[in-house]
Each structure stands twice: as structure tokens, then as C-alpha cells.
């Protein structure tokens, strides 16, 4: 339909106003729906066109058409000769009466009538007001530190001006009600010497201005203009009140503690990304569209997506997502990553700052970019962007910061991140990690959990092993039992494979591969088990018990010999279920064996004896100190030993530092060391050497023994005296944090189990109630596997792992109970 008809000299046709209104109102009520508002005149609904074209009263000539957008919709009005106008909600209708008078009325779909007020305008105004308010809120959030103060000052100044301006008006009123007056400034204008100096200065400055200004005396407000004083009128009183409120606002801001830094992540984890790419990438980088396009094309000429499409995505503002924390423990950065992981159009890139690394937290500075797949900002680039942002927030941008970011996106300066940081699957390009996988990376700091690889060749751990054949395994009841346990715990479908294997059912190719892998794994674990069984001796258990009071109490129930026997008996069964424990014990025993066999260890006895003789001390001190006859004696000894070792360790370190200058010590200690060496070379050096030797031997005699108490205290002292921060360990760092983290996982598993039972359906549509036990068991395999493979975070220490063990037992019980529920008919 042509929307523009031929323009003819208009011949006015007048109809009575009331008649026209009535006809239009009727037709519009029946035909015009707000949902039909077209996006453009060309998109006018077909029925409109039909109505117009088929209207016998009209000739189809367009008299007037109007079109404008409002909010998400649009308003379209057209007037045709001889026909009622098609007016959408809020349309303005001009009508001209016989005598030439014009009337403009608005159509309101809500009540199906014309009126003098424009309902759409009200909506638009409200929308605009909302937009302004939102923009203002955002601006406020970025100017919390400096902006607030500046605005408040400006407000005070503006209101002061306004107040002064009002006061110069001609309308002078009579008396003023005392309730409207400034009660805090009830000082006479001429008593400024009694006011605080700051207030007096302000008043003086204000009075020095030309023109009228307000003054208070008692409860009354006056306007002073030169030598003339008059009573303030109502407007001036209102303006004065406004000024006082503005002042109070300023005072409250000035008195509030100054906020340091920029709060970015805490309020909403999505904000940093919006801030980073505040307007678009061009602004962030300082590059022009053409330049950025050229660079991207050069860089990604072989990618599927053209640079123009990448740029379009890049320039688009990042949408704010509705986000909630999944748990109280979730940090903002984790929350952000989880949200970001759900988005399809972004790869996640992050970096650690020194501060967050030190705290062992995930990075708070997270940047995302679709345009740079597989690439990341360098630390320098990120720093430059941050400096620029901070500059903006403070109202200025340093020229140097501009220049630093000008090449922030130079592809030549990109460096790839380690795969553990870049959340893109290493083995499957294009596959992004799920939020659970990302969470797992953050929890454990480990590489991404992969699908099991059942290959045998190329595995170091299988090197030199001679696994039993399946026939050999099945011939022995014991092997059958342990091998079955291993298969069950190996992968989610382990129970089913075990059943098929022992019942001689046919296996799939994949199952045969797993079975073959399991034979090697079984041989490996049996080898470990034998090594550990031969290593566990009663003396080790006694040593361990002396290190850990809880363990001591447990060993006390059976004695060390019996405990060793229990361990040897159970380690085979537990090892088949829990490879982690076998690995730990094997590594620890190997390390201990190595430590105990070093030359230093063996040569030490003789060396220290010589030192003791030289320094005039003897080894009997140790025996005298260390009494272990009863529990009380042991506790007292421990305290005494702790104090002595602590004291001696400090002196020992000082001597070692000063003499050997251990390289990891701080520079000031090196200076002290140099000073001491000079002293040693000077007068009285022999005595100092003797003294130092004495300190050394005093400490070293404790290292002669293999007493676990001593070893533990030396370990503690060594950790306490370490200058460098210990390496960041993965997992929760406090007991409480570990507990809570663990708890979350347990809760999640419980919820998963419940949800599974509620929602799971077989392919034929049967729900849990109608599934048989085998089907139920099989459907639960993935969940069972999740706790069997230590995939939930256990935190550190035996207690957390013990809780997990208990939880596994409870989970198995619950699982059995659910599986054995009666099957519905």
C-alpha cells in the first residue's frame, strides 16, 4: 500500500464535531487494538488497509499521517478523507468544525474514549523520568567518592544563589511563622565573632556578595540588601529551608568516612564487565572502528566469523543479567564466572592480582571478550584499562593513561593464558566449560576433569606391570572380590559391568576396554597395597600417635600392634575403593624412606657429638628434658620442649643467617650478617665463635633424635620462621570454610538425589515409582560416581575426609532405600 497519496489542493469538508467524534469513538473502540500498533507505517496491519480500502464513505486519500516511536512500541495515526481516522493509543486527533474552529483530542484505548489529556505522553514522560533516574543512579554509583561532595557543594551554591535571587524580588511579605525558620542559626547577623570560625568565614563571604541575602535573628528570617532589611516572604523562607537542607546534606557527606578505592565487584559481579567495556571497545582502546577492524581481520582472517560481525558484538553493550548468589560462601568473582559461563557469546578470561593471589581468592578482575577467542589481556593492559577507569571515576583521565591503552588490543601483544585459566576445553576446541566444571577448577585448582581415558599404552604407572588374566582373577575368590570392588568404583557404570562380567554376559567394545584397563589398575593397586602393608610397622603408628592426640586416643583402644594389623587387613579393600589414599600413603612412605636414608641423617650423629664436645655441651640435656612416663609428664614435656625449641630455634636461625647468609633471607638480615662477620674477624672473635657454636649445638642436639614431638616442633618452627609466604594451597583454608564448602556439596548431592527421584523418567515415560530396582540403580550411577570419585570438595585434614566417608555410607543407605521402594503396579 502506498502510504503517500497524491497531494491535491485540499477541499475542506466539514461535518458536525459531535457527530464525527461519536462515529470515530465507536469505530475505534471496536477495531483499534493497542497490540496492533505498527513499528512503521509500512507495517500497518492488513485489516487496517482493508478497512480503509473497503470503506464506501472514503476515497482513500490520505489527509494526514503521523508516526512516532514510544517506548517499545509505536504510535501511528492516519487520517483519510471521508473516513474515520485510524488512531492508536494516545493518538492526537485534529478535528475542524464547520465554523472553522479546531479541536484536538487524544484517543485513549484504556477507556475507549477521547480526552484532553494525552495518555501516551504521560507514559512517555514516566518512561523518560525512569530512564533519567536510572542514569542518575548509575552516575551516582560511579561518583561515590568525589562526585557526592562536589554535587553537594554545587547544590549549596545553587540554592544559595536561588535564595539570594528570590530575596531580591519585589514581593515583600509580612511576618514569618517561627516554625519555618532556621533554628540552628538563631544568632544575630552582627554577632559573628561568637560563631565558629568556619561558619563566620562562610557568612562573611556570603555577605560580601553584592545583592540581597537572607539573615536570621532569633526565630525570624530577614532579607538584607545593602542597608535595607526587610522580613522574608514565603518563597524566600522556602528557599532558605532548601538551603539549610542542602547544607545538612553536605555536612553529612563531609563527616562520613571517606571511601577509598572503587567498589566494583561487591555490588554486582556483572558490573565490572560493564564498566570495563563501558561504552564500547573503541572507547576502551582508543582505536577507531577501521583500525580495530583492520587488526582483527589480520588476526582472524581464517576464522569463520568476519571481523565486522565480531565488531558488532563487541560494540554492543553488555547486558546486565539477573544474578543471585548460589550460596552465602560464593564469592562475587565466582558468582560472576558462573553467570558468565551461562552466556553463549563470551569466553571467560581472568587474571590474578597480587592481592587476590595472596588471599588465595579467585581474581576479582574479570574480563570477557568474544572478539578475542583464545587470547587474553596482559597484566599491563589490564592495569592500563583499570587506571583509565579509575581516572574516569575521579573525573579525569591522565594523558599517559590514554596513551598506555591505545594499543591495548594490539593482537601482536596478546599472550595465551594457561588453559586452566582460559575456560575453553583444551581437548575440544569450541566447547566451553560448564559452570560446574569452572566451579571445580576454582575449588581444587586442578585441571579440568576429563572423560576417563582407558588406554593402557603410554601410561607410566602401568610400566613393568604384569596384570593377571581375567581367568586368573575369576579363579580366585579373593581376587574376584577385590577386582569387583575396583570395577564398581572405577566409573559410573561399574556395577553393571561387574554384574555382566560375573554372569558371563556379552560386553560391548567399550566395556571390554574398561575391563582391560581395570586389570592393569588392579595390578597397580595390589602392588601399592603390598608396598604399604610391608611398610606399616608398629613404631610408625606410635610415632604418628604422638603427633596426633586424636589418633593417639584411637590407637590406645587396640594398641599399636593390633592397629597395624587392622590397617594391613583393611588397606586392600579400601585401596580398591579409594585410590587417593593408596597414592598418599605410598608417596609418604617413599619420602620418609628417602629422608631416613640420607647421608646427612646418618652422618649427623657423629657430627653433632663432635660439635657438642667442642661447645662444651652434652647430649644428656635432651634426655633430661624429655620425660614420657605418663600423660601428664608427656604434656609437661611437650610444653617445655616447645618453649626451648622455639627459643633455641630463633638463635639458631640468627647464627645460620649471619654465617651462611641463607639466600632467601631478607636484605636487612644480610646486612646484619655482614656486620657479624666483621665482628668475628675483630677482637674477641673467638669468644663469639664459641658462643655461636654453643647456640648451634644447643639446637642441633634435638635434631639427633627421631622423636616425633621434636620433629613436629621443628616443623612448626620452620614454618613460623619462613620469610616467604607458604605456597597457596588449594581448597578452603579454614576449618569452618572447609566445613561449609563440604556442606554445600553434600546438600547439593542430597538435592540432586531427591530431584533425580522426582524427575527422572525412562525412555518409555515411566517414572521412578514404576521403575524396577535394576533400572533405578543404573539411573543413579552418575550420582554414585560423583561421591565415589572424590569429586566433592573435602577440604583439608583427616576430619573432613572422615566426614566424607561417613556421608558416603549414609548416601549409600539412602540410595538403597530409594532403590528398594515398592514398584507401583
Amino acid at each position: 500500500m502506498s502510504m503517500e497519496g497524491p497531494k491535491k489542493p485540499e477541499k475542506k469538508k466539514f461535518i458536525p464535531l459531535e457527530e464525527g467524534l461519536s462515529a470515530m469513538q465507536r469505530r475505534m473502540s471496536e477495531e483499534v487494538q493497542q497490540s496492533e500498533v505498527p513499528a512503521s507505517p509500512d507495517d500497518a496491519p492488513a485489516e487496517w488497509k482493508s478497512l480503509i480500502e473497503n470503506n464506501p464513505e472514503g476515497d482513500g486519500t490520505i489527509r494526514e499521517q503521523k508516526y512516532w516511536r514510544a517506548g517499545d512500541g509505536a504510535v501511528y495515526i492516519e487520517k483519510r478523507r471521508g473516513t474515520p481516522m485510524r488512531v492508536a493509543h494516545g493518538g492526537l486527533v485534529d478535528f475542524q468544525g464547520r465554523s472553522g474552529e479546531r479541536t484536538s483530542l487524544y484517543w485513549n484505548n484504556e477507556n475507549g474514549s477521547f480526552g484532553e489529556t494525552d495518555p501516551l505522553s504521560a507514559e512517555i514522560r514516566a518512561q523518560q523520568a525512569n530512564d533519567r533516574q536510572r542514569a542518575q543512579d548509575e552516575a551516582d554509583a560511579h561518583e561515590r567518592t568525589t562526585g557526592e561532595r562536589r554535587r553537594a557543594r554545587q547544590q549549596v551554591a545553587a540554592v544559595s544563589e536561588q535564595s539570594a535571587g528570590d530575596a531580591s524580588g519585589e514581593n515583600i511579605a509580612g511576618g514569618v511563622g517561627p516554625e519555618l525558620l532556621d533554628r540552628d542559626t538563631d544568632k544575630a547577623p552582627d554577632t559573628q565573632e561568637q560563631l565558629p570560625a568556619k561558619t563566620a568565614r562562610k557568612r562573611k563571604k556570603r555577605r560580601s556578595r553584592e545583592g540581597p541575602h537572607t539573615v536570621t535573628r532569633g526565630d525570624a528570617l530577614f532579607v538584607k540588601d545593602g542597608n535595607t532589611v526587610r522580613t522574608a516572604n514565603a518563597e524566600e523562607i522556602a528557599a532558605h529551608g532548601e538551603l539549610l537542607r542542602a547544607r545538612e546534606n553536605l555536612d553529612s557527606i563531609l563527616k562520613a568516612p571517606k571511601k577509598r578505592g572503587v567498589e566494583r565487584v561487591e555490588a554486582s559481579p556483572v558490573e565490572p564487565m560493564r564498566d570495563t567495556f563501558k561504552d564500547d571497545m573503541y572507547e576502551a582502546t582508543g582505536l577507531t572502528h577501521e583500525e580495530l577492524k583492520r587488526r582483527l581481520e589480520a588476526r582472524y582472517k581464517n576464522t569463520i566469523e568476519p571481523a565486522e560481525a565480531l565488531l558488532a558484538q563487541l560494540a554492543a553493550r553488555h547486558k546486565k543479567v539477573d544474578s543471585k548468589k548460589e550460596s552465602a560462601n560464593e564469592t562475587s568473582a565466582e558468582q560472576y564466572l558462573r553467570d558468565a559461563a551461562r552466556r553463549d557469546d563470551f569466553y571467560i578470561i581472568e587474571h590474578n592480582t597480587a592481592a587476590t593471589t595472596g588471599r588465595g581468592e579467585p581474581s576479582q578482575n574479570v574480563y570477557a571478550s568474544r572478539a578475542m577467542p583464545g587470547q587474553a589481556f596482559t597484566q599491563e593492559q589490564v592495569d592500563a584499562v583499570e587506571r583509565r577507569e579509575k581516572g574516569r571515576e575521579r573525573g579525569f583521565v591522565k594523558p599517559s593513561a590514554e596513551s598506555e591503552t591505545s594499543d591495548a588490543l594490539d593482537p601482536d601483544k596478546f599472550r595465551p593464558l594457561p588453559l586452566s585459566w582460559l575456560h575453553m576445553h583444551p581437548d575440544a576446541p569450541g566447547r566451553r566449560f560448564t559452570s560446574e566444571e569452572i566451579a571445580a577448577i576454582h575449588r581444587g585448582g586442578e585441571s579440568v576433569p576429563k572423560e576417563p581415558d582407558w588406554a593402557i599404552r603410554g601410561r607410566d604407572e602401568f610400566e613393568g606391570l604384569k596384570p593377571k588374566t581375567l581367568r586368573e582373577i575369576l579363579a580366585s575368590e579373593e581376587d574376584q572380590l577385590y577386582f569387583g570392588t575396583l570395577i564398581e568404583s572405577l566409573y559410573p557404570g561399574g556395577a553393571e559391568l561387574k554384574r555382566k562380567m560375573f554372569e558371563n554376559e556379552g560386553l560391548t567394545a567399550e566395556e571390554r576396554r574398561i575391563q582391560n584397563f581395570a586389570r592393569y589398575e588392579y595390578a597397580r593397586r595390589m602392588h601399592q597395597v603390598e608396598f604399604i602393608q610391608s611398610s606399616i610397622v608398629a613404631s610408625d603408628i606410635e610415632h604418628a600417635a604422638r603427633r596426633d592426640e586424636d589418633f593417639d586416643a584411637v590407637v590406645g583402644l587396640n594398641g599399636s600392634e593390633r592397629t597395624a594389623e587392622i590397617f594391613k587387613r583393611q588397606i586392600r579393600h579400601l585401596g580398591m575403593k579409594n585410590r587417593g589414599m593408596l597414592d598418599r600413603l605410598q608417596l609418604t612412605y617413599e619420602e620418609l624412606a628417602h629422608l631416613r636414608s640420607t647421608i646427612t641423617y646418618r652422618a649427623w650423629d657423629q657430627a653433632v657429638q663432635q660439635l657438642c664436645a667442642k661447645a662444651g655441651t652434652n647430649l644428656a640435656d635432651y634426655e633430661r628434658v624429655f620425660k614420657t612416663g605418663s600423660k601428664e609428664e608427656r604434656m609437661a614435656t611437650r610444653r617445655e620442649l616447645q618453649g626451648e625449641i622455639r627459643e633455641k630455634y630463633g638463635r639458631f636461625r640468627r647464627v645460620v643467617d649471619s654465617v651462611t647468609g641463607a639466600s632467601f633471607r631478607k636484605a636487612d638480615r644480610m646486612v646484619r650478617k655482614a656486620g657479624m662477620l666483621e665482628e668475628l674477624a675483630g677482637a674477641g672473635a673467638v669468644g663469639k665463635v664459641d658462643h655461636a657454636l654453643h647456640d648451634l649445638t644447643g639446637m642441633l642436639r634435638y635434631t639427633l633424635v627421631e622423636n616425633p614431638e621434636v620433629v613436629r616442633m621443628l616443623e612448626q618452627e620452620a614454618e613460623r620462621n619462613e620469610d616467604l609466604s607458604p605456597a597457596m594451597e588449594n581448597g578452603p583454608r579454614t576449618f569452618k570454610a572447609a566445613g561449609e564448602s563440604h556442606l554445600q556439596n553434600e546438600k547439593a548431592l542430597d538435592e540432586k538425589l531427591d530431584a533425580h527421584v522426582r524427575n527422572f523418567k525412562m525412555k518409555d515415560g515411566r517414572s521412578w515409582d514404576r521403575m524396577n530396582a535394576d533400572e533405578r540403580r543404573e539411573s543413579l550411577a552418575p550420582l554414585r560416581s560423583e561421591i565415589a570419585h572424590d569429586e566433592i570438595n573435602t577440604g583439608k585434614g583427616w576430619f573432613s575426609r572422615a566426614l566424607l566417608s561417613i556421608y558416603r555410607v549414609l548416601f549409600a543407605r539412602k540410595e538403597e532405600e530409594l532403590i528398594n521402594r515398592p514398584v507401583a503396579a
Binding site: 610408625d540 610415632h543 604418628a544 600417635a545 596426633d548 586424636d550 589418633f551 584411637v554 583402644l557 587392622i566 590397617f567 587387613r569 583393611q570 588397606i571 579393600h573 579400601l574 589414599m581 598418599r584 600413603l585 609418604t588 620418609l592 629422608l595 646427612t600 641423617y601 649427623w604 657430627a607 639458631f652 645460620v656 654465617v659 651462611t660 668475628l680 674477624a681 672473635a685 673467638v686 665463635v689 657454636l693 648451634l696 639446637m699 642441633l700 635434631t703 616425633p708 621434636v710 620433629v711 613436629r712 621443628l714 616443623e715 618452627e717 620452620a718 569452618k736 566445613g739 561449609e740 556442606l743 583427616w798 576430619f799 575426609r801 572422615a802 566426614l803 566417608s805 555410607v809 549414609l810
Partner: protein, 87 residues
């Protein structure tokens, strides 16, 4: 009365949430003998492995002390000898 593992677990969780590590450990240690043998052995092995690892860490610290001490003593002796020769 037989130990209810569910109850024990709930109490341990409660203590853990309250951050009472010592109490939780003590409760578990006291209840250990009432747990099924396999579970008991598993927990005891965890304790043992932790203590053994601590022992290895301590041994490492001890070896460092020994090595540093020997080196320092040797240097001191050398200083002393030189000083005596100079005198």
C-alpha cells in the same frame, strides 16, 4: 544402644558449622569404636596418613636444620682457625 550414624553425622555437621573443630574431632574420636569396622579403619587410616605426612614434613624441616647447622658450624670453625692463625 547402637550408634545412629545419621545422628552422629548431624551432630558433627552442627559442630562443624559452628566452627568447633576440637569438639567435633573429639566426638568423632570417641564414637569411632562404635562405627562399622570398615568405616572405622578408613577414618583411622586417614588419621594415620595425615600424621605420617606431618612426620615427613617434619623430617624435611629437620634435615634442613641439620644441613644448615653443619654448614654454619664448618664456617665458624674456619673463622676461628683463621683468627687464631692471624693472632
Amino acid at each position: 544402644m547402637a550408634l545412629d550414624i545419621q545422628d552422629l553425622y548431624a551432630k558433627l555437621r552442627e559442630l562443624r558449622e559452628a566452627g568447633k573443630e576440637e569438639e567435633a574431632r573429639t566426638l568423632l574420636t570417641r564414637s569411632l569404636s562404635e562405627l562399622p569396622e570398615e568405616l572405622r579403619a578408613e577414618i583411622m587410616l586417614e588419621m594415620f596418613a595425615d600424621a605420617l605426612e606431618g612426620e615427613a614434613r617434619g623430617m624435611t624441616a629437620l634435615r634442613e636444620v641439620q644441613q644448615e647447622g653443619l654448614a654454619a658450624a664448618a664456617l665458624l670453625e674456619q673463622q676461628e682457625r683463621q683468627k687464631k692463625e692471624n693472632d
